[in-house]
Amino acid sequence: MVGAAEEIQLNRLESQVEHGGGGAWEYLCLVRKLKVRRSEKVLKYGLAILKDPKKRSKLGGEEWTLYEQVSLAAMDCQRLDVAKECINTLQKKFPSSLRVGRLEGMFLEAKGSWADAEKAYSRLLEENPLDQAIHKRKIAMAKAQGNVSSAIELLNKYLETFMADHEAWRELAELYVSLQMYKQAAFCYEELILCQPTIPLYHLAYADVLYTLGGLENLQAAKKYYASTIDLTGGKNVRALYGVCLCSVAINQLSKGRNKEEKDSPDLHSLAAKALVKDYKQRAPTKVSLLTTTLQNMKLLS
C-alpha cells in the first residue's frame, strides 16, 4: 500500500538519486517495499550497484534480492541480455530454488516463447502443486497472450482454492472491467471491500463500477460508496468528489419523472462541489473557471 507520506518520500528519493545525490539503495528498497513499477529507474540504478563490486559486497545477503529485482526490471524493459546475466548468477547461487525457476519462466515469457514458459511452469507445479506465485504466472501468461477469457477461467479456478488472496480478486475485477462485465466486477470489488474495508480505493472502484452500471438503486449505492471514499481519504480524493456530484445529478434526472421526494442528503453534492472548487483554487488556479462553469451547468453551484 502506498501512503501519501510514503509517496512523497519515494519521489524525493527518486529526484535525489537522479541528480546524483546518492541513496540509490534506499530508493531500490523503497520501490520494493511499496511494490511500485518503475522498471527503467530500477534497472539503471540497480545495475550500477551490481556492476560495482565494492558497493555490491557492502549489501551482504541483500545482494541476491537486488539481482532478482534488477532481472525483473530488465525483463520489463526488454533488456533480455541483462536479465539473463542476473538469472544465471542466481542460478549458480541457488541451483534448485523455486523462486529462480519462476524467474526463468518469466524470462521465457518476456522472450515470447509461450510454449516453453508453459512447460517450465508445469514442471515447477508438478514439484510443488500449491505454489501460488506460479499459478498466478500462468494466469498472467494467458492475459499476456490476449486470451482474457481463459485468464478469467483460470483465475476463478485459482480463487476457489485461495479465496483470501485479495490481489487475485483485484486482478479478476480489473479483467472483468476490461471485458465490460460490470456485474461480475462489482462482485469482486464487494469481496475486496469485505477483505480490506479501510482501503478507500476499493470503495472508489466499486462506486465507479456501480455508476457505470446505472439505474437508480445502483446510482444511490454508488453515491454512498463515493461518500465513504471521501470519509476515508479526508476529502482529498478528487475523483470521489466528482463522483458524488455526477451521481447526484444522475439521480435527480432519473427521479424527476417519477416525482419522488426522496432526498437523503441534499447538502452532500453542494458540499462536494465546494470542496472541489477549493481544491482547484489551491492546486490549479487556472482551471477554476472551467470547473465552476461545468458545475453551474450541472446546477450544483449557484
Binding site: G3, A4, K35, L47, D76, R79, R170, D231, L232
Partner: protein, 102 residues
C-alpha cells in the same frame, strides 16, 4: 499522575503479597500433611484487586488513547501497489528496448 503510579505500585505489591501468602499457605499445608486444592479466599480476593489496580494504572499512566485517523498523511492511501504477481511484459516497452549508456 503520581497518584496513579502509586496505585499501580500498590497493585504490584498486592500481587507480590498474594504470591508470598500462597507459598506460606502451602508451607502450612505441608506441615499439616493436607492436599493443596486451591488458594484460600483472601488470596483470591487479593489477586483480583491487584489485577484490577494494575490494569487500571497501566491504562491511565501512559496517557489517553489517540484515534487512528484513516485520512492522516501517514495513513491515507494514494495508490494501490502494482499487482506484481500478475505483471506482464507484453506491452509497448517491447518495441522500445531501454538503452543504458554504459
Amino acid at each position: 499522575m503520581k497518584a496513579t503510579v502509586l496505585v499501580g505500585l500498590f497493585g504490584c505489591v498486592l500481587l507480590a503479597h498474594a504470591a508470598y501468602a500462597t507459598i506460606q499457605y502451602r508451607g502450612v499445608l505441608k506441615i499439616l500433611e493436607e492436599e493443596f486444592s486451591g488458594p484460600p479466599m483472601n488470596v483470591v480476593v487479593e489477586l483480583l484487586v491487584g489485577l484490577g489496580l494494575c490494569t487500571w494504572a497501566a491504562l491511565t499512566v501512559p496517557g489517553t488513547f489517540l484515534s487512528i485517523l484513516p485520512d492522516s498523511e501517514e495513513n491515507r492511501l494514494v495508490s494501490l501497489p502494482t499487482n506484481v504477481d500478475f505483471m506482464i511484459f507484453n506491452h509497448r516497452g517491447r518495441v522500445f528496448p531501454y538503452k543504458i549508456d554504459t
